[in-house]
């Protein structure tokens, strides 16, 4: 029995993202683990604590992505695998899903795959659904709680939060789950985990290891360039007044004047 959790490094939410004249983006100096993934990794480690399963943390990307894997190991994942190949330099979400699905098949006994709700940098989650589709497994998105998990009976029941409200869904395993922040409180690394992570040699699986050809992961969508958001013009005005009442009256008067109310 095996749980796989996917992660990646994304720019710090406080980073200043800049775009140069030739349309190349600089994501800031500091990368952090994709905030959503902290919940997914924590959930995987909690599952490991409650069931007799192995947890593998996985990423698609160059060496710099190893930090996310080390973080996963430091929190309590058993092993890490990095999926990378020079042919993946400009990969799109479908290529991502192709590679991840191949790696999961290579591991063999995987019952559950966990993702954070989305990638914070690209604000996208299609790679998750594509991975489920590539595997041919059920996709349970936006999960706020895993209500029941039975590896022996190969079933799972989750609570999903959707635009239409909460929904409790049962599925058979294997399945792919994307988690929301409601699902847990992210764990911090432990010192023992840190020592293990620091010592770990993370294997890299390339296309050959995954039995894939370059054609199978050729990007169908490509980012041609980025552009800076138009600068927002604005100014702040502080409403002064002796009492809250007076300030509120002045504020309302100003809002009416500006035709906002």
């Amino acid at each position: 029995m095996h749980v796989v959790v996917l992660t990646k490094m994304t720019p710090d939410t406080e980073a200043t993202v800049t775009v140069n004249a030739s349309g190349q983006v600089h994501w800031g100096d500091k990368l952090v683990i994709n905030p959503w993934d902290e919940y997914a990794i924590t959930e995987a480690v909690l599952i490991k604590g409650a069931h007799n399963v192995q947890v593998t943390v996985m990423t698609v990307g160059p060496e710099a992505q190893s930090e996310a894997l080390k973080h996963g190991l430091a929190i309590g994942c058993d092993q890490a695998v990095r999926l990378w190949d020079s042919a993946l330099e400009k990969h799109d979400s479908l290529a991502y899903a192709t590679v991840v699905a191949a790696a999961i098949r290579k591991l063999g006994d995987v019952d559950l795959v966990l993702f954070g709700k989305e990638m914070a940098d690209l604000a996208t989650d299609q790679h998750i659904f594509q991975t489920a589709r590539k595997l041919g497994w059920n996709m349970l998105g936006f999960v706020a709680k895993i209500e029941a998990l039975d590896f022996a009976a190969r079933t799972v029941r989750v609570r999903r939060l959707t635009d239409r409200g909460a929904e409790v869904v049962a599925s058979r395993l294997p399945a792919v789950i994307s988690v929301l922040k409601d699902i847990n409180e992210p764990k911090y690394p432990t010192f023992i985990g840190i020592r293990k992570a620091a010592k770990a040699e993370v294997p890299v699986w390339g296309l050959a290891d995954l039995g894939l050809s370059a054609a199978e992961v050729a990007p169908r969508a490509q980012v041609l360039g980025y552009r800076e958001l138009p600068k927002r013009e604005g100014s702040a005005e502080i409403i002064e007044g002796a009492t809250a009442q007076e300030k509120a009256e002045k504020l309302v008067a100003r809002l009416l004047e500006e035709k906002i109310l």
């Binding site: 080390k70 430091a74 911090y188 690394p189 432990t190 010192f191 023992i192 840190i194 020592r195 992570a197 620091a198 010592k199």
Partner: protein, 404 residues
């Protein structure tokens, strides 16, 4: 010479940075204002293994090195000195002394629960008339068969009302000449009959921390709780300070960094004469100095840490790091308040707290005056390190990380 930190050290530093920032910082000011210890600090440091960071795994610790201890202290004081003070007394002054001087039995009984964070430890040297001049201490220990009877009062003791174990120093020979040869070290526990403690209220700084007094009234301490030999107490007390001062120095680098980071942020946000104050050369100068102080203090700390890892005596090197880093943290805090103008003068911003905290560190664990005398005496040849019966314990990763 290798200045790079290992992945393990960097990850430990980041973990403690995040823990302190996420779990303590948001509520710190509340407790600082109340002059009360933040109730979450000890549980947090205990549960996450921070209290035993550089104690060997076989004694319940995490088996990291002395450099990691410094990084952890820096991160803790980046948030507030009261967090780092816990490490200074629990880990620096007490647990590392047990590792260096304790019998195997004492290590099992006291060090193991301390390293696991199950018991909290303090260090009680100072008395009403014995601060800079500890040989003047008045507490006594009278031997009666297999026990010592301790009497006296300790003051200005960090975690006095919170710790379970203390290393205390008392005179087994009040008439010894020179005076310091009459001092012996003991391990006492809060639950011993005749031990009572109280809090010191309304300090200038470290307000979210705990400082107080310990009264010992006919406390019966078994011989097995004597740390080291009779008359060896002064040397033990001073060797404890070699580790305590290291944590204080490392903490001070965290305080300087806090001043620098907060000042950089504010200087870019605050406008005068139509430009951010960061554009004024006199503000840049302050920022430049803070950076210089931080770098120099940190290098002194890391050198001391390297010596410790090697198991080499580091009394002078640690002392100069403590003296410099704490003095510069006071200067950095003064400049940080200045950069923040009137806002820095109010507790709306953190910099006034850094200043109040920094002022403590140039007094405790050897005031700046004492540090100067010490450096001068080494340079003049009036002072030399003599070998200790138990030398500092070097960091041997294999021994420290293995279970037994």
């Amino acid at each position: 010479m290798d200045f790079s930190l290992t992945e393990e050290q960097l990850m430990a530093q980041e973990m403690v940075r995040e823990l302190a920032h996420d779990k303590i910082y948001p509520t710190l000011k509340e407790w600082d204002r109340k002059h009360q210890p933040h109730p979450d600090v000890l549980p947090l440091l205990a549960e996450n293994g921070v209290l035993g960071i550089n104690i060997p795994v076989r004694y319940g610790g995490q088996g990291f090195d002395y450099i990691t201890l410094a990084l952890v202290c820096e991160e803790l004081e980046r948030v507030d000195a009261s967090l780092r003070v816990v490490m200074s007394v629990h880990a620096g002054l007490n647990s590392l002394a047990l590792l260096q001087w304790g019998t195997e039995d004492q290590k099992q009984r006291f060090l193991v629960p301390q390293a696991r964070g199950e018991k909290i430890a303090g260090y009680a040297l100072t008395e009403a008339e014995a601060g800079s001049d500890p040989a003047n201490l008045r507490s006594t220990a009278r031997r009666e068969g297999d026990i010592y009877i301790l009497n006296g009062e300790k003051m200005w003791i960090s975690l006095a009302t919170l710790a379970d174990h203390f290393i205390v120093f008392a005179k087994t020979d009040p008439h010894a000449q020179p005076r310091h040869k009459g001092i012996t070290a003991f391990i006492i526990t809060r639950d011993m009959k005749g031990v009572s403690t109280y809090d010191e209220k309304h300090k200038l700084g470290v307000r979210a921390g705990s400082t107080g007094g310990i009264v010992m009234q006919d406390v019966e301490v078994p011989v097995e709780n004597r740390l080291g030999e009779e008359g060896e107490g002064f040397y033990i007390a001073m060797s404890c300070l070699d580790n305590g001062r290291y944590t204080v120095a490392a903490g001070a680098t965290g305080c300087i960094r806090a001043c620098l980071e907060d000042s950089v942020k504010y200087a870019k946000e605050r406008y005068t004469f139509g430009v951010p104050i960061a554009h004024h050369q006199l503000i840049k100068q302050k920022i430049a100095y803070m950076q210089q102080w931080y770098d120099a203090a940190k290098l002194l700390v890391l050198r001391a840490g390297w010596l410790k890892n090697q198991g080499m005596r580091n009394t002078r090197e640690t002392a100069v790091a403590k003296w410099f880093a704490t003095e510069m943290s006071v200067k950095a805090a003064l400049e940080a308040v200045q950069i923040h103008g009137a806002y820095g003068f109010s507790d709306e911003y953190d910099v006034e707290r850094y200043l109040r905290n920094a002022k403590g560190a140039v007094i405790y664990e050897g005031s700046s005056e004492i540090q100067q005398l010490l450096q001068a005496d080494y340079a003049l040849g009036y002072r030399q390190d003599r070998p200790l019966r138990c030398e500092p314990v070097p960091y041997d990763p294999e021994y420290w990380q293995s279970e037994a």
